[in-house]
């Protein structure tokens, strides 16, 4: 318990991703089974202790202390586990006849609570809370209530596992869904004590194949005749798999995201595994699937439950581009050409409002494809995908068979308005920038925020400019001089624009970054909001 408590305390306060990986990796190396597996389950949201619920803890606190004082404390701290850990008054009453089992190990905690009924569980928990210090209480409460929210994603935990076992993360992703808490076989393999476990579960995740960016030299070197091309859709990469009655939707990193898309899940009347892009369709068009904007898709993301209304107004569908498995037959060793034929046959009988096929683009030369790329038929296209006809489906990012060729980013010139201090290594620099463009009335209105794209030297120059031209400070934020005749102009690159009600300017940029510093350009030559609105198609 103590080691887990220390891990949580360190993770909460460690800003750097690499340092977090190091902490997790060390923890997996130093902690014996089954505790490390239980910690892993807690970190990845796979631990469920039915006998303890947050509402019970609130009820317990209401009995132990004044509700107003607890409420004020909770409001201030903002985290239930931490609040209870801090306000807890140890009532060290000696009860030798029912001496509690020390909460020394996570296995102990989870084991005792899973066997106990609700009343017993609470009594056990109280005894442990009395025995632990504040940091231990915090860890215990986090563990038993689930949902740690300490800045570690399931993805990060899997990367740490891969580091620990010195294996590729796709191998961990592939096995992930077949492994039971506390992951004994997984750890045995990663620590080199036993061979890789076999995937036994139905409808497991199959690690996805990724593309490399196509460079100028690639284009000169490669023979266009050996490649197929399709549009690169701006949605979410999804693997839809249905086997023996088990249906799952996986993200590209193997997270099960089916819960958010029950409408698609229900329509999966097939045996096999499709690879494709999840998109939102425009509901008013009943005869065909017309892709909505990325903004529409965002309405459907990161939701635990989906209302009926949203399912109707924002229906999702899968635009399939590969078939990995059909009726138990592994197709990944076939060529893309073969798989594509099988895919077309496979998708044809499926529910048309939920599945279609990503069409191929006809082209003879890279030049012709480049024309297509610059003039896509739809706004939800962010470039083209290029796939070698003869290539097999290989997990990871092999160099050669698949390329992505994105559209050139959109560019505008915007004026720096606010700068915010960075975090971690950048905490002594103003490194997060809000920039704006001119309205017709000649007022600057913020249109985006970016914190990368510049070199370290450029960061120093911008930081100096911010410090020398500060008008006002609001905590970690400074507003800087931005007049028509004086200010700093950034060339900002971004992937697309959406209308947004949340932003004052009415537009929101996708993936903005600073592409150049325009020290040479006076602010009054920066872009206008009207010119930005013209970019929204």
């Amino acid at each position: 318990m103590k080691r887990f408590a220390q891990l949580l305390d360190r993770l909460v306060l460690t800003p750097s991703r690499n340092a977090k990986l190091q902490l997790l990796c060390d923890y997996f190396a130093k902690t014996p089974d089954p505790d490390r597996g239980i910690a892993l389950a807690a970190l990845t949201g796979r631990l469920d202790i039915a006998s303890v619920k947050p509402a019970m803890l609130r009820g317990l606190m209401a009995e132990r202390m004044d509700e107003v004082l607890f409420g004020l404390s909770y409001d201030y701290v903002g985290d239930l586990a931490e609040t209870i850990a801090l306000v807890w008054d140890q009532q060290a009453v000696a009860m030798p006849q029912q001496a509690a089992v020390e909460p020394a190990s996570l296995a102990n905690v989870v084991g005792s609570l899973q066997m106990a009924g609700k009343t017993d569980a609470l009594a056990i928990l109280i005894r442990w809370l009395d025995q632990l210090d504040s940091s231990g209480r915090y860890a215990l409460l986090k563990l038993v209530t689930g949902g740690l929210r300490i800045g570690v994603s399931a993805r990060l935990a899997k990367l740490a596992l891969a580091d620990y076992g010195k294996v590729d993360v796709t191998e961990v992703e592939e096995l992930w869904h077949g492994q039971e808490v506390p992951f004994l076989a997984l750890f045995a393999w990663l620590s080199g004590n036993s061979p890789k476990p076999r995937q036994m579960a139905a409808a497991p995740f199959r690690p996805v194949m990724l593309a490399n960016a196509l460079s100028e030299t690639d284009r000169q070197r490669l023979d266009a005749n050996l490649y197929a091309a399709e549009w690169k859709w701006d949605g979410i990469r999804i693997q839809a798999t249905a086997e023996a009655g088990v249906k799952r939707l996986y993200s590209r990193t193997g997270d099960d995201v089916g819960q958010a898309f029950p409408d698609l899940l229900e329509a999966m009347e097939f045996e096999g595994t499709l690879d494709g892009e999840l998109l939102v369709a425009r509901p008013e068009l009943r005869d065909r699937l017309e892709v909505g904007s990325f903004g529409d898709l965002q309405q459907r993301l990161n939701r635990k439950t989906v209302s009926k209304k949203l399912r109707v107004s924002h229906p999702v569908f899968l635009r399939a581009y590969d078939l990995l498995d059909e009726n138990g037959e592994n197709l990944r060793n076939l060529s893309f050409l073969e798989r594509r034929k099988r895919l077309e046959r496979f998708v044809n009988p499926l529910e048309q409002s939920r599945f279609d096929i990503s069409p191929l683009i006809e082209f003879q030369s890279w030049r012709e494809l480049a024309d297509n790329r610059e003039n896509p038929p739809h706004v939800a296209i962010e470039g083209v995908m290029i796939k070698q006809w003869q290539s097999t489906y290989q997990p990871g990012r092999p160099k050669g068979p698949w390329f992505k060729w994105k559209r050139d980013p959109m560019l505008i010139d915007a004026v720096l308005m606010y700068a915010q201090r960075g975090h971690g290594k950048r905490s002594s620099y103003y490194s997060d920038y809000t920039f704006g463009v001119w309205t017709d009335e000649g007022i600057l209105v913020p249109v985006g925020k970016a914190y990368f794209g510049f070199t370290d030297d450029e960061l120093k120059q911008i930081d100096k400019f911010v410090r020398e031209n500060t008008i006002e400070r609001f905590g970690p934020v400074r507003s800087v001089t931005a007049r028509k005749d004086f200010g700093l102009v950034f060339e900002v690159a971004f992937e697309g624009l959406n209308r947004s009600k949340r932003h004052k300017s009415g537009v929101a940029m996708r993936f903005p970054r600073i592409s150049r510093l325009r020290w040479d350009k006076p602010p009054n030559e920066a872009d206008t909001l009207a010119s930005l609105e013209n970019l929204i198609s």
Partner: protein
């Protein structure tokens, strides 16, 4: 006479009409009684300042010798009279020179505690309950950490945490954020008490007050300025460097080898608070009472009423109500709640 006639809040601070003086006024006044040297309590520009000698010295260091026209040093535990009102100064245990002020007139007794703490501190005189024949009528208390979540751990444990990290990361610089008056010297004192006898490096903003503490007989060990010679880059690896928190996020902070940012403050009890400030190693060290110490103090003194100046007054007043003690907020403006 009722207590509010003897002392009541005004826009300039607490005012005593019969004595014609203010306590810790936030604007310049003819006569100010000042509890301690922190900038929100001790401001320059008053005509007369009554305070302990150490508080007057600290004000002179911060604002210059002309911070007021007539400094009036007050010996601790001695009774002085001003317009028939008796005032006396009693140790508050907050920072060097800090005092509580007992105000007596007719048959009313009020203690203005200023900021105070009960925890151990090798760098200032400990808090003393003001001795009176009968319980005082009003105890005026701060409420900086008046929430049941604030339970300050033992200072020695926090210092041990810092020293353990210095051992664990010998190639990194430990940057400890401290406020210049009180916290800096307390951290230094605690480090020396824990047996750490290496040179400790300090930011220029701490120099004068550290020398002043040393001149008052408070041993802080070998201190050197945290300045770099040209071309040196990693000279502070493995060292402890103290400075005001603002300096570490400024350009000054860039000179250190792979720094670990530490912050010594009572606020560090709350993880999200530490995270927001980018603190990697929080040291829970406070100049103020925690929740338990506030309650203990009120119970010990058993005052007729509790008046709460600044901080989280709602929780403390709620507790007083639950315990049948009369309490009210003074809603004084101008005292900082977040800066310890």
């Amino acid at each position: 006479m009722n207590p509010a006639q003897l002392l009541h809040p005004t826009s300039k601070g607490l005012y005593c009409p019969p004595g014609d003086f203010y306590v810790d006024p936030v604007a310049s006044v003819p006569r100010a009684l000042i509890t301690h040297g922190h900038a929100d309590h001790a401001r320059p520009g008053h005509r007369q300042v009554w305070a302990t000698q150490q508080t007057l010295d600290i004000m002179a260091i911060r604002y210059g010798d002309d911070h007021c026209r007539q400094p009036q040093p007050m010996a601790l535990r001695e009774v002085f009279e001003v317009n028939g009102v008796k005032v006396s100064f009693w140790p508050a245990g907050h920072v060097l020179g800090s005092a509580q002020i007992l105000i007596q007139h007719a048959d009313v007794q009020i203690v203005v505690s200023g900021d105070y703490k009960r925890g151990t501190d090798p760098t200032c005189a400990p808090y003393e309950p003001v001795p009176t024949q009968r319980p005082i009528d009003v105890f005026i208390t701060e409420a900086t950490f008046a929430l049941p979540v604030f339970r300050h751990p033992a200072p020695s444990d926090e210092i041990a945490k810092l020293l353990r990290s210095v051992d664990q990361f010998p190639d990194r610089t430990h940057l400890v954020g401290v406020y210049a008056l009180g916290k800096a010297q307390r951290v230094l004192g605690l480090l020396r008490n824990a047996g750490y006898d290496e040179t400790i490096y300090i930011h220029g903003a701490l120099e004068k007050l550290c020398s002043y503490y040393a001149s008052q007989g408070i041993e802080l060990g070998d201190l050197q300025p945290a300045t770099l010679d040209k071309g040196q880059k990693h000279s502070f690896a493995g060292k402890i460097v103290l400075g005001p928190p603002s300096a570490f996020v400024d350009r000054w902070g860039r000179r250190f080898a792979d720094p670990i940012s530490c912050f010594a403050s009572g606020w560090m009890q709350i993880r999200q608070r530490a995270k927001q400030r980018g603190v990697e190693l929080p040291l829970i060290l406070s100049d103020h009472c925690d929740w338990d110490e506030l309650l203990t103090t009120i119970k010990e003194l058993n005052p007729g009423e509790v008046w709460v100046t600044h901080g989280r007054d709602d929780a403390l007043i709620r507790w007083c109500q639950l315990n049948q003690i009369q309490a009210r907020p003074l809603n004084l403006i101008g005292y900082e709640e977040d800066n310890e």
